[in-house]
């Protein structure tokens, strides 16, 4: 039976809790209710209140307590109800968790899970993609899976990792994406991108829900005999520069695609690295497709205009192929 992206994350956490008695979950409405998105459904019954810790509405305390517990040898998985509310725990993440090892050698083995992304009519405070803030914070790891396989394998790696990991789950993928998963335990390494689709004419470097936007564009272009390669970054920090550069060297044309807004987004960072390290392989300028520099609007036509879509990718791809 195929497993959804949502169920894959749930299974990943569940199996880690079975494997390691130090793993526990902390967050809002995660007990009886099973979490706003049901990631922790059934966990309270199975693991009990000691390991499924329901909290008041206190993101800063959730992250802070996770840090403290992590330093005492536990392996906390903290849930933000929406990624948009991660701002309320920002100081704990970027100043406390991220800087312990560098300053005084302490491990902070926490995972902060954050359901992110638009396309669900959530409006400005239930749709954001705040990954770039954390990518700009040395000491953190930042993960953005796009498939059920990766979501499960990466959440396991995140839990086993000894550094603080921010795990962005794209809400629009929760129930939309599914696949058969292996029966046996597996992990997906942090920091490794994956070629989601092989191609030779143009590379799209992307992650999260945008992988599927790129895929739709690729299917369309295939009909015209154009072969698009899609690189799914999977981890944004540390970035897998090798896989990106390899793809660029192969196709010589590249689009960086993300749902996060344009200015200061991860696309700019990757463009710079391509410019520094693969300039002579390029046949065309490096292009970015991202949301415009605005908050995420609520009204359907506005949100549609805001989000990158296959049409926008096709336009940019054709422009690049014309070089």
């Amino acid at each position: 039976m195929a497993t959804t992206y949502l169920e894959a994350i749930r299974e990943g956490i569940w199996e880690e809790m079975e494997r390691d008695p130090n793993v526990f979950v902390i967050g809002e409405d995660i007990g009886i209710y099973g979490g706003a998105f049901k990631i922790t459904a059934g966990m309270l019954d199975h693991f009990g209140e000691k390991r499924i810790v329901d909290t008041p509405i206190s993101e800063s305390a959730i992250v802070g307590a996770a840090i403290g517990a992590g330093m005492m040898g536990l392996r906390p998985v903290a849930e933000m109800q929406f990624a948009d509310f991660i701002t309320c725990g920002f100081d704990q993440i970027v100043n406390f968790a991220a800087k312990c090892r560098y300053r005084w050698g302490a491990s902070v083995p926490i995972v902060v899970r954050a359901p992110s992304g638009g396309g669900i009519h959530g409006g400005p405070f239930h749709s954001q993609n705040p990954e770039a803030w954390f990518v700009h914070t040395p000491g953190l790891k930042v993960i953005t899976p796009s498939t059920a396989y990766d979501a499960k394998g990466l959440v396991k790696s995140a839990i086993r990792d000894n550094d603080p990991v921010i795990f962005f789950e794209h809400k629009a993928l929760y129930r939309r994406v599914k696949e058969e998963l292996p029966q046996e335990d597996y992990t997906v390494p942090i920091g490794k991108a994956r070629v989601f689709r092989e191609g030779s004419d143009l590379s799209i470097i992307t992650y999260g829900a945008m992988v599927y936007v790129a895929e739709e564009a690729a299917t369309e272009l295939e009909k015209e005999g154009i072969s698009l390669e899609i690189v799914d970054l999977r981890t944004l920090l540390p970035i897998d520069e090798g896989t990106v550069l390899e793809s660029v060297k192969k196709t010589s044309r590249v689009i960086l695609l993300h749902e996060d807004t344009l200015t200061g987004g991860i696309g700019g960072e990757i463009a710079a690295r391509i410019g520094e390290k693969a300039f002579e392989y390029l046949d065309a300028p490096v292009m970015r497709i991202a949301a415009p520099d605005t908050p995420v609007p609520y009204s359907p036509p506005l949100e549609e205009a805001f989000l990158p879509n296959p049409q926008k990718v096709l336009e940019k791809a054709r422009q690049l192929l014309g070089y």
Binding site: E28, D29, G31, I32, Y33, A36, D54, T55, P56, I57, S58, E59, S60, A61, F82, D84, F85, T87, C88, I120, H121, G122, G123, P124, F125, H126, P292, D293, T294, P295, P297, Y298, S299, P300, P301, L302, E304, A305, F306
Partner: protein, 344 residues
């Protein structure tokens, strides 16, 4: 108050009442509470289920007495910071149900022209500040607004609303403490509806009452029956006088119950059955109705006429909103800044 008058003049039962009397207050409250209930029922139980509203829907069913009792205690230029369950405040300030339906449906006729949805709406010309989603974020903002009102020599105050769950946020504590230290003219009003999403009060705080937190900040705390609109009104009035007199902020806890799921998608099966039945008995609109009849402030048919009028107003408003166009996609880029920085 021009907008309020215009809403009421069509209503003989209310127009007949002297402003400032308890009867007048009760009838105005009845009007607004019924309006809020009818509009929200339409939103939650019809438009949302018909798929005409996409996205979150949070209503104040069963808690109407809180925002309306408070809203009828303020002057038009007192600054309001509604929470996501305080729709009635907007009506008191003259917002039309048409604009609210259009807001929920993401239409141009909505208060934010489709930029945001549901209760995320404000209008500084009406002295209403829009919430952000993050609970309690308005609490320090209201402290600052109140400090500014005093700074400018205004006699106006700020009223800031939030739920029981919001009081667990750091912003809440920082905001209350700052307001207290500054003696800011602000009244903090908690709708204690006993739940924060699925989380019952006992998992939110160890103190029995939200108001118990007030002494920790050195400010007065009051507990009031949040389903008794006249009691809410009287308590808020006292706290406003306290603030206007330069004596600083107060915290008012209105005990009530959320007679619905957290949002339209939530069946709230975590709420014990008996609580629904118990609190249905205490419905604030039914209670006000009985009180009005018992006091002889109006006759049964007067109240039915108010309700009937509101229902047709709601019908018309829904139709208006459905005919309001969606914003043009190009509007996505508007108003990020006062002056566009496009191309700079």
């Amino acid at each position: 108050m021009a907008a309020v008058k215009s809403l009421l003049t069509g209503n003989p039962a209310i127009a007949a009442e002297e402003p400032g009397t308890e009867a007048g207050l009760a009838l105005r409250a009845f009007h607004y509470m019924t309006l809020m209930r009818e509009v929200e029922d339409r939103i939650e139980r019809k438009l949302y289920r018909q798929g005409k509203i996409l996205g979150g829907v949070y209503v104040g069913r069963g808690q109407e007495a809180i925002c309306i009792g408070a809203g009828l205690a303020v002057e038009p230029e007192d600054v309001l910071f509604p929470s996501h369950r305080d729709l009635g405040l907007y009506f008191i300030r003259g917002i039309h149900p048409r604009q609210v339906f259009a807001q929920y449906m993401g239409r141009v006729g909505g208060i934010t022209r489709g930029k945001d949805g549901n209760m995320h709406m404000g209008d500084l010309s009406l002295h209403i500040v829009a919430i952000i989603s993050a609970m309690a974020a308005s609490v320090p903002v209201a402290a600052g607004a109140a400090m500014a009102l005093r700074y400018k020599g205004s006699r106006n105050v700020a009223l800031c609303f939030f739920g029981d769950g919001a009081t667990s946020r750091g912003d809440w504590h920082e905001g209350l403490n700052l307001a207290a230290v500054q003696k800011a003219p602000v009244v903090y009003i908690c709708n204690n509806n006993q739940y924060a999403y699925s989380t019952p009060l006992s998992k939110q705080m160890r103190c029995e009452n939200v108001a118990d937190r007030a002494p920790g900040y050195g400010i007065p705390g009051h507990i009031v029956d949040g389903n008794d609109v006249l009691a809410v009104n009287a308590t808020v009035k006292r706290a406003i006088e306290h603030a206007r007199a330069g004596l600083g902020p107060s915290l008012i806890e209105c005990k009530s119950f959320r007679m619905t799921g957290h949002s339209a998608h939530d069946a709230a099966s975590y709420v014990p059955e008996h609580l629904w039945a118990e609190w249905a008995q205490k419905d604030p609109i039914l209670r006000l109705r009985s009180r009005i009849l018992a006091e002889g402030w109006a006759e049964e048919q007067d109240l039915d006429r108010i309700t009937g009028q509101i229902r047709s107003e709601v019908e018309e408003a829904v139709e208006w909103a459905e005919n309001s166009p969606y914003p043009d996609p190009s509007e996505v880029l508007n108003n990020v800044y006062e002056q566009s920085i496009e191309g700079k």
